[in-house]
């Protein structure tokens, strides 16, 4: 851990959304042929990853990720260094599900200790209902188990705060110089947009396909194939939670009424008993 630089910025919280998870695909002669050298009992190829939302770069705050796989897998502790324009990813083949431990190491400016996340590798379709499972099976993408998470930095050190609150807006310098600087500063610029071969806007702040600014905490507005996390999803979830809340309140009310009646009945019974005794 790097020695703390400067002071912590009091009362300030900065967050960065990111995604981690696994994608698994069964071996198939046509779509996913088994490569040579893979043991016979391996049934799936799978990947575990940590990446920025909408494939934006996160290496400006996340330096490396240690994936701890199942011990039966050779070289089961994998350290993945951050690389510009690439997610932190491990590709493997296997036959069984297990829990993967991911240790997140932050950039030295942060002065923060690494944090640990756990994720269950899913090879087989899962879900609460059969339909969900079936949908996952039909889906050509394979078994997806992705998790949206937000990294929260509470009271970051000043230097790190600076890193976290710059780079997205061309407010201080002109756009071109800002980009240059970003490129020069250890490759913090040039994000997923570039690797995807998508839009590369020469003027204006750099955005990913989903409209997320580099170095920002933005979340794309709309869902796109392969990018299920967006404001849309968030709103849906909030709606769901609100509906659930309404339901719960209804139930609570009903239950409270019931309870009152029951208590009355109980009192009545007790009184009867007392009268008889």
């Amino acid at each position: 851990m790097a020695p703390p630089v400067g002071k912590r910025v009091k009362g300030v919280q900065v967050f960065r959304p990111f995604i981690y998870g696994t994608t698994a695909k069964p071996f198939d002669e046509k779509t996913n042929p088994k490569p040579a050298g893979v043991p016979d009992d391996h049934t799936h190829s799978w990947t575990v990853f940590v990446k920025g939302i909408d494939d934006v770069d996160i290496i400006y705050w996340l330096r490396r990720v240690q994936f701890k796989l199942h011990e039966s897998i050779p070289n089961h502790v994998r350290m993945v260094e951050g690389e510009k324009g690439k997610p932190f990813i491990v590709q493997e083949t296997g036959w069984g599900e297990f829990e993967i431990t991911m240790k997140l190491y932050y950039v030295p400016e942060s002065g923060e200790k690494p944090q640990t996340l756990y994720h269950h590798l899913r090879l087989h379709p899962y879900g609460r209902t059969e339909e969900e499972k079936e949908a996952m099976r039909v889906n050509g993408e394979g078994v997806i188990s992705w998790v949206y998470e937000e990294q929260i930095f509470n009271e970051p050190y000043e230097a790190f705060y600076d890193v976290l609150t710059s780079g997205a807006m061309p407010n201080t310098t002109t756009t071109t110089t800002a980009n240059d600087k970003r490129g020069g500063k250890g490759g913090k610029g040039g994000g997923g947009a570039k690797t995807k071969g998508g839009d590369k806007k020469e003027d204006g702040p750099k955005r990913s396909e989903g409209g997320v600014l580099e170095h920002s905490a933005m979340i794309p507005l709309l869902n796109r194939p392969g990018h299920p996390f967006s404001r849309e999803t968030e709103q849906l979830e909030i709606k769901k939670l609100k509906d659930a809340l309404v339901k719960v309140e209804d139930m609570t009310k009903k239950l409270a009424d019931d309870l009152k009646k029951k208590e009355e009945r109980l009192q009545q019974l007790k009184r009867q008993e007392a009268g008889e005794a």
Binding site: V5, G6, R8, G11, V12, Q13, V14, F15, R16, P17, S110, E112, K113, Q115, L117, R128, V147, Y148, E149, E150, Q151, I152, F153, N154, E155, E158, A159, Y161, D162, L164, T165, A168, M169, N171, L213, S216, A217, F229, T233, E234, E237, I238, K240, L241, A244, L245, K247, V248, E249, M251, T252, L255, D258, L259, K262, E263, R265, L266, L269, E273
Partner: protein, 644 residues
């Protein structure tokens, strides 16, 4: 003469060649207005720009002799001056405007005209003599006689006796005063009293006194002495002629002034004045500087006094009218101390804010120069603070640059640091930048502000994990079940801030619901028990005659029940039923049972209920023991039942 000529004279290079000069002159000359009152040459001095100061309007003088009256007549008139002591012996004549009052003027005019000057003198003389009775010199009125006090022999003897002054000298003084119109300088200058010993000897006084008088008179009198004597005499005579209470106001003021004449003071005043006039330039300068010093000292004392007053205020701080009883207890004293310290702190802070007051008040009071010394010190101190700040922020490596330029102002030290190390400069900039984040930027960068934060990185979902981990395993299970019922996934899809907040609301609602359910279940169970008891009672009442197996019951309980009364046995049987009922409940609701077992609270309540049912139980300890025994009996019973 034109501007060209002027240029020529002054050896200035002319901007025009010689050729166009005459044509130009003609050109400019023609339209120029012909100004009056100025010589053409003077006008030409203005060159191409005409002189603008020439007054345009020409005003003619008014005619002097607008009215054509006949010339005034003047005549030579004789006059006398009554101020003269020669009693009108000298007659002078002067020209006077003739008054226009009819005949005498006409006659005089005729006289003046008809007679030549030499002849007319005699007739004029006669006229003058005739008129002189009427006419006095207009300046005669300025011949004012000083009214010197007069006194008679008796008056002098009764009022004006003096050890230092003889009557003769007093007379002499008064005479001089009268002669020189109270011009004291002259009086003093001419004062030369020579006593006449002969007349004294021959007179009324004895020889001894006369010699004394002679001795006294030889004393040279100062002006103040003369004045004092004169005023004394005048005042006393005034009082003699008119008692003080009858005097008019101005009279009395004069009397007072003369009575209070203080020769010593007057002498001192004159001495001071003399000294002032006689001092040299250096002395004057010194005096001025001394005056300034005094002013400074006074100002300093003022400030010192103010500080002293503040100190006193501090010393007897609680200027309260409330009674001091509240401060008599130890807690009261503690509170008072707290108050005083708070006040002190705030005062210190306040005084630190003021730049001048930054130095200690004592230092300012000790010497005036201390104030002026601390003033230049202050910026230096501030600068050193400013210099140490970036040092602290960036770690080491800057010390040398700072110490190398100790006298540079703060902002100067800041810029080289920024220039020398861009990264560290950026860190310094950050401080100013941090405040500049706009609302939009904060949103983009995901910056939020909170009152209290535990520092360090966390994940959003951890909060929800914590919600779970704060509940017991049983509750967790129930809550997850409840959430499952509501079709809420076990893990939030997108745990953003908004979603987690919403989830927390839902969470608390669900927790409440689950708790309610638990209570409801418990009451259900109780109702069942009560109903079973009721049924049992009914049955017992129906089969009052025969008790089936009391011995068995007594054996089974194993609690060492000694008194095998009927009623007790009945009760025991009741319990038996109860337990069976409970067992039924267990079968029906397996999830409920462990919860009941797991929670002491419920146990206790149930135990108490059952204890209430068995008041005669001999195990007789606390409620806990009883409940424990009940539980043990349950297990015993079930075990025995299984054996059977």
């Amino acid at each position: 003469m034109t501007s060209h000529d002027v240029r020529d004279v002054l050896n200035l290079p002319s901007d025009h060649s010689a050729g166009p000069r005459p044509t130009k002159k003609q050109k400019t000359g023609a339209p120029r207005p012909n100004l009056k009152g100025l010589a053409r040459e003077v006008q030409n001095l203005g060159g191409d720009n005409p002189i603008a100061i020439v007054p345009d309007v020409s005003v003619f003088k008014k005619r002097r002799f607008a009215s054509r009256k006949p010339a005034a007549k003047w005549e030579l008139k004789g006059f006398k001056n009554s101020a003269r002591s020669d009693d009108g012996a000298l007659i002078l004549r002067h020209w006077k405007r003739k008054t226009e009052d009819g005949a005498p003027v006409d006659r005089e005019m005729r006289d003046g005209e008809s007679q030549p000057a030499e002849n007319g003198e005699s007739t004029a003389d006669g006229d003058v003599v005739k008129k002189e009775e009427l006419e006095d010199s207009s300046f005669a009125k300025y011949n004012v006689q000083v009214s010197v006090p007069q006194y008679s022999e008796d008056q002098y003897r009764s009022n004006l006796q003096s050890d230092h002054w003889t009557k003769e000298e007093t007379d002499y003084l008064l005479q001089l005063a009268k002669d020189y119109d109270l011009r004291w300088s002259i009086i003093w200058d001419r004062y030369d009293f020579q006593p006449k010993p002969s007349s004294e000897e021959g007179g009324e006084m004895a020889d001894g006194t006369s010699t004394a008088v002679v001795q006294v008179s030889t004393i040279t009198r100062t002006m103040e002495d003369l004045k004092a004597r004169y005023y004394e005499v005048a005042a006393k005579m005034m009082a003699v002629q008119k008692p003080a209470q009858y005097m008019t106001r101005p009279e009395f003021e004069l009397y007072e002034m003369m009575l209070n004449f203080n020769p010593a003071q007057e002498r001192a005043r004159k001495e001071f004045a003399l000294n002032t006039m006689a001092r040299s330039k250096d002395e004057a300068r010194e005096e001025e500087s001394l005056l300034l010093e005094i002013k400074r000292i006074l100002a300093r004392t003022e400030r010192f006094n103010e500080e002293r007053r503040e100190l006193y205020n501090r010393l007897d701080y609680p200027h309260t009218e409330t009674d001091i009883n509240s401060f008599k207890s130890s807690t009261g004293l503690q509170q008072l101390l707290q108050n005083l310290m708070n006040v002190d702190k705030s005062k210190k802070r306040k005084s630190l804010m003021g730049p001048g007051d930054g130095s200690s008040p004592g230092g300012a009071a000790v010497s005036g120069s201390a104030v002026s010394e601390t003033a230049p010190n202050d910026p230096r101190r501030r600068e050193s603070i400013a210099a140490s700040m970036p040092e602290r922020v960036h770690g080491h490596g800057h010390r040398d640059s700072i110490s190398g330029t100790p006298a540079t102002p703060a902002n100067e030290t800041a810029t080289p640091t920024a220039g020398a190390n861009k990264k560290k400069g950026g860190a310094a900039q950050l401080q100013s930048e941090r405040r500049k984040l706009t609302e939009q930027e904060e949103q983009i960068y995901g910056v939020t502000h909170h009152d209290r934060l535990g520092s360090g990185p966390t994940f959003r979902y951890e909060k929800i994990n914590k919600l779970y981990s704060h509940k017991s395993g049983q509750q967790q299970l129930r809550i997850t079940n409840a959430l499952g019922e509501l079709d809420v996934p076990a893990r939030l899809v997108m745990p953003t801030a908004a979603v987690t907040a919403q989830f927390e609301v839902l969470w608390s609602a669900v927790t409440a619901l689950v708790d309610l359910r638990k209570i409801s279940d418990k009451i259900d169970a109780e109702i069942k028990i009560e109903e079973a008891k009721k049924a049992e009672r009914d049955k017992a009442r129906a089969a009052q005659s025969g008790s089936s197996k009391p011995d068995d019951a007594a054996k089974r309980t194993g609690d060492g029940e000694s008194k095998g009364s009927e009623e007790e046995k009945d009760k025991e049987e009741d319990q038996d039923k109860e337990q069976r009922q409970n067992g039924d409940g267990e079968d029906k609701d397996p999830a409920e049972e462990p919860a009941v077992n797991g929670e002491g609270e419920e146990k206790e309540r149930e135990g108490e209920d059952q204890g209430g049912l068995r008041p005669g139980s001999s195990s007789g300890g606390g409620a806990h023991k009883r409940s424990a025994s009940v539980l043990s009996t349950t297990s015993d019973k079930s075990a025995k039942r299984q054996k059977k």
